[in-house]
């Protein structure tokens, strides 16, 4: 392994080990339950088992991965593999599961190493900076090492996939992305960019397009390679379940359409802003209009906290609306990619696909912000103009993860770790990004910095929230403040990035 990456890994591991005693969310129990299911139930039962409410709802590769882990787990403590041991939570189990997350992060490290090694010597400094920003990302620390998930590994596969594509190994890249989809289907959000890019750059050859023989533009051999290998991946993953006739059940587990527009805590997207406007209008109306419709009890104010949201003033949002909006913005981002299928454009459209699904999607988790941040990181150092949207995105995105960790012991870690990350990379990226040819809009940069500084009083206010007795009746307000402010930042970065993508270069 490259020394710098090895050092970074060792340093981050020795810190993450200290987080073993930290609070674990329900996701810890979710994954323990999956270990138990895959280990002590036959494969035919995996997607039917429902003793725990945390049923298996990831695609089969992830289930296979859990099965593999369980082969090790049985030497640590067999009791954690018993499905009936709900909420089993002893030290050995915690240490095993936490260690498995840290070990799985090696995938990410090797992916980053692959990326660094691919670039010429004179670009190494930039590549290292980007790699470190991902490796030390507060997002992975909060979600994986405290809250508990395996995102770093999955994003490692994603990075491997597009670095292979950068290398020209389109087939490998495509197959890896298919594998990734079979690990966690949330990456479907990024698939339009993959589809279009592979189609345009690998399966078609526009140069040999002729009107009288349009099929000449199709690289038949490549199509067969790619098609057959993706089908092979899908068969390995889903084959056993198709054979057992469980595909409908599996798909139902993967795509539960009965959830609400916003997640329990509003992910900072357009709908968070929409809900916030709705709430504000509601409160204004209730005070100034004597309309009985608005005179309901306070309880309606907290509806945003439970799954299904309906709006009081603004029109309700239907799944179709969110789907159409997402599709529209994703398609928009694909147009330049179709015209000039360069690698940078591919990564840009990946980022924009992530943005579109995060900002407009139905029932988005705040954790999905990583889908935007990770691809964006690879563009951040293209030139200085990218830094403003990049920091708007990362700062707002990482801070929007804070409510995931609500215990006081870990609170200071999340604040300080994130602040350190921002402080380091703001300085490092600022020194590394080349000055672009085009003039920057300095005013906007200043506004962005002011906006980011606004997080300091905001977080202080939220931390002291419980002490302000006047606000006791407005419990939801605390979360709403964060998600609204973050959503402004993320939407701002979306606009900035889209402008750079569509109207410059």
């Amino acid at each position: 392994m490259l020394p710098a990456l090895r050092y970074a890994t060792i340093a981050s591991v020795s810190f993450k080990v200290l987080l073993y005693p930290a609070y674990t969310s329900t996701d810890f129990e979710v994954h323990r339950n999956w270990l138990a299911i895959t280990h002590s139930r036959p494969i035919s039962q995996w997607y039917y088992e429902n003793l725990s409410e945390w049923t298996l709802d990831y695609p089969p590769f992830f289930a296979y991965f859990e099965w593999l882990l369980s082969q090790l787990a049985k030497y640590v403590d067999p009791a954690m593999l018993v499905v009936e041991n709900l909420n089993y939570h002893n030290t050995a189990t915690v240490y095993f599961q936490r260690s498995s997350v840290i070990a799985s992060e090696l995938v990410l490290v090797y992916a980053l190493q692959h990326y660094v090694k691919l670039l010429p010597e004179n670009a190494h400094q930039t590549a290292y900076a980007i790699s470190m920003s991902i490796l030390f990302s507060p997002g992975f620390l909060i979600i994986d090492n405290i809250h508990f998930q395996y995102n770093a590994m999955l994003f490692g596969i994603l990075i491997f996939s597009f670095v292979y594509i950068r290398q020209g190994k389109m087939l490998t890249g495509g197959v890896l992305f298919a594998v990734l989809l079979c690990f966690k289907h949330i990456f479907l959000y990024l698939s339009p960019a993959y589809f279009v890019y592979l189609l345009r750059a690998y399966c078609l050859d526009i140069g040999s397009f002729r009107l009288n023989a349009p099929w000449a533009a199709i690289r038949v051999k490549n199509c067969i390679y790619l098609g057959s290998s993706i089908i092979a991946v899908a068969l390995i993953a889903f084959g056993p379940f198709i054979y057992m006739g469980q595909l409908p059940q599996l798909l139902q587990r993967l795509f539960p359409f009965s959830r609400g527009l916003c997640h329990a805590y509003w992910a900072p997207n357009v709908w968070a802003l929409y809900s916030a406007i709705d709430r504000s209008l509601f409160m204004v109306f209730r005070r100034f209009l004597k309309n009985p419709e608005y005179a309901q009890s306070n309880s309606s104010l907290t509806r945003g906290l439970v799954g299904v949201t309906s709006f009081s003033v603004l029109p309700d949002v239907h799944p179709q609306t969110t789907f159409l909006l997402t599709a529209f913005y994703q398609l928009l981002s694909l147009i330049p990619l179709i015209i000039t299928p360069s690698f940078d454009k591919f990564i840009s459209s990946l980022t924009l696909c992530g943005y579109a699904s995060f900002l407009f999607g139905w029932h988005v988790h705040e954790k999905a912000i990583l889908l935007v941040i990770v691809p964006f990181s690879f563009l951040a150092l293209k030139d200085r103009r990218y830094l403003t949207p990049y920091f708007l995105l990362t700062v707002s995105g990482y801070i929007s993860l804070f409510p995931l960790i609500f215990t006081s012991a870990e609170a200071f870690i999340k604040y300080l770790y994130t602040f350190t990350w921002i402080f380091v990379f703001y300085n490092v990226f600022g020194g590394l990004a080349p000055v672009g040819i085009a003039r920057r809009v300095f005013l906007l940069d200043r506004i962005a910095i002011l906006f980011l500084l606004g997080f300091i009083p905001l977080l202080a206010f939220v931390a002291l929230y419980d002490q302000v007795s006047v606000l006791k009746n407005y419990e939801f307000l605390r979360l709403m403040i964060i998600s609204t402010y973050c959503s402004v930042g993320i939407i701002g970065s979306f606009i900035g990035f889209s402008w750079l993508y569509f109207f410059t270069s």
Partner: protein
């Protein structure tokens, strides 16, 4: 024998590398330092990380980042358990500190050193009591149940734990970290060292494993006392004598253990009042300000039961009785000091009366610190002060009465400070070595607290960051001692985790630990005195 050879190697290397030892005004040596810096490889992991910030513009970023990272590791250790967690009925040091906040906040001052002494009666000097009062007051604003009189005993509310952990971090930030930065800045300026070395030294000191684990894992406020003492040393070194001695008095008033340092500091201050010529105004101003500070710190407690002579007498006497618990015996737990080591073979406590042992330990301590005292008194040199302070602290740790294993932090702090701008690999390696041995000597305590994983993580991190394993003494006997003791530590750790001690000697591993640590400490103390001697007698 071994020591003289170690010292010879030091002598040779100082000749080769005279940079650190010569005065800053010597121009040619300054150049030598700088060329040394540019050629010194920075391929240690820490050097690689700091390489990112090599540009002069970003040097300050590097130092801030080091402070933030050292705080992060403190917070990380703080997630783990602490001493006496859920151990009914007495709990541990955490509960002691919490209890003091409770009693100082709720009781009148006159009660502070008298209230229910059986349950963690206050046994630190007044500044700790005031510190506790402030923290108890702040904490009670946040949640009044945390420090409710009597009913809060053994309170383990997670938010209380976070609050207590934060108070240690904030005390660190307010006292220890500024003190370390100030010392390093002074040393850098007087030795003309590069900002890069500034950062490396900051990391080496702030990530010192023993202090992190005791303060933020086990739970204590040692860094406050150490920081105050260090502020004292630094100000004295910067010739701000009155301020320096006031800080030192504060350190003494925070924890009486700062007495370990007192003799050399006193000797230095006295020495510069006498040599090269008698400076009576300086002496008088120092004496008066120290006395005023001491009286001022004690006054609120002494006067708490009225302005009568009797009240003052009883209160002050009680404070002294509580602070110096001569009734408690020569030592408590297994400690890597002389008495405990001898006791393994000769049962001291059955052979001699406690009074006799007390006198014996007093005499032994005085003999052990006498060289440092005299050397500093007659050669009050700036570069000798810190070595003198550590020599005296080793003497107290190894020979004095009622020593805790945690007290090794006291000699360790000035020793670790010597890493700042130290170019001699031999000296570096002994300092890393003694830090590791000290860490090892704390292992039984940390194991009891449930901090085994934190112990290994921080232990590893510090040594790895500094590449201490690559810095072995060049001198063969020194190398032999260091390598053998490292091997013994590894073997003992393996034994501890794989083989249960024989039923006849249930404490076998702990005893082996203290014996090994005592041997290393003793050798190091001798070497420390030798270095002090060298520093004092070489012509400036």
């Amino acid at each position: 024998m071994a020591e003289s050879k170690l010292a010879k190697s030091r002598e040779v290397s100082t000749k080769k590398n005279s940079s650190a030892a010569t005065s800053p005004s010597d121009h040619s040596s300054t150049k030598a330092v700088n060329s040394d810096l540019s050629t010194e490889p920075d391929n240690t992991p820490l050097g690689v990380f700091l390489g990112t910030f090599k540009a002069a513009r970003t040097q300050w970023v590097a130092r801030q980042v080091i402070i933030m990272i050292s705080l992060l590791f403190r917070l990380g250790v703080g997630l783990g358990p602490y001493s006496g967690k859920s151990v009914f009925p007495m709990y541990g040091d955490f509960e002691a500190q919490r209890h003091w906040m409770e009693i100082t906040y709720h009781l009148p001052i006159s009660q502070w050193y008298w209230y229910d002494l059986q349950y963690w009666g206050l046994d630190y000097p007044p500044a700790t009591a005031y510190h506790s009062w402030v923290l108890g007051w702040l904490g009670s604003i946040i949640n009044s149940t945390w420090f409710q009189l009597d009913s809060s005993r053994g309170c383990e509310d997670p938010n209380l734990i976070s609050y207590m952990r934060m108070t240690v971090i904030v005390s660190d930030l307010a006292v220890y970290i500024p003190a370390v930065s100030m010392f390093i800045r002074w040393k850098m300026k007087s030795n003309k060292l590069s900002p890069f070395h500034h950062s490396i030294s900051t990391a080496a000191i702030l990530l010192q494993p023993s202090l992190i684990l005791i303060d933020h894992g086990h739970f204590q406020y040692n860094s406050v006392m150490l920081g105050l003492a260090l502020l004292g040393f630094t100000n004295i070194l910067k010739d701000k004598l009155v301020i320096g001695s006031l800080f030192f008095v504060l350190a003494l008033a925070f924890k009486q253990m700062a007495l370990y340092y007192a003799l050399p500091v006193f000797a230095y201050l006295l020495g510069i009042c006498i040599f090269p010529r008698l400076n009576l105004p300086r002496f008088v101003s120092l004496a008066v300000s120290v006395l005023i500070a001491l009286v001022g710190l004690l006054a609120p407690i002494a006067l708490s039961s009225g302005f009568t002579l009797e009240g003052i007498y009883t209160q002050s006497l009680q404070v002294l009785i509580r602070i110096f618990p001569f009734a408690r015996g020569l030592w408590e737990d297994k400690v890597a000091n002389f008495w405990c080591a001898v006791n393994t073979f000769v049962k001291l406590k059955t052979l001699f009366s406690p009074d006799y042992l007390q006198r014996l330990s007093l005499i032994a301590t005085l003999i052990s610190v006498l060289p440092a005292f005299l050397l500093i008194l007659f050669y009050p040199r700036k570069k000798a002060l810190i070595w003198g302070v550590s020599a005296s602290a080793w003497g107290f740790f190894l020979f004095s009465f009622q020593v805790h294993e945690k007290s090794v932090l006291l000699p360790l702090m000035p020793v670790t400070l010597q890493l700042v701008g130290e170019m001699d690999v031999n000296i570096q390696s002994y300092i890393y070595w003694i830090n590791n041995v000290a860490m090892f000597s704390l292992f039984p305590l940390l194991k009891r607290d449930g901090l085994v994983m934190q112990y290994f993580a921080i232990f590893f991190l510090w040594n790895w960051l500094m590449s201490s394993s690559k810095r072995l003494p060049k001198f063969i006997l020194g190398k032999l001692i260091v390598v053998t003791s490292y091997l013994a530590i590894v073997v003992l750790h393996i034994l501890e985790f794989t083989i249960a001690p024989p039923a006849k000697y249930p404490d076998l591993w702990v005893v082996a630990n203290t014996m090994l640590s005592f041997g290393c400490f003793f050798l190091f103390a001798l070497w420390n005195n030798y270095i002090l001697y060298q520093t004092c007698i070489t012509k400036p």
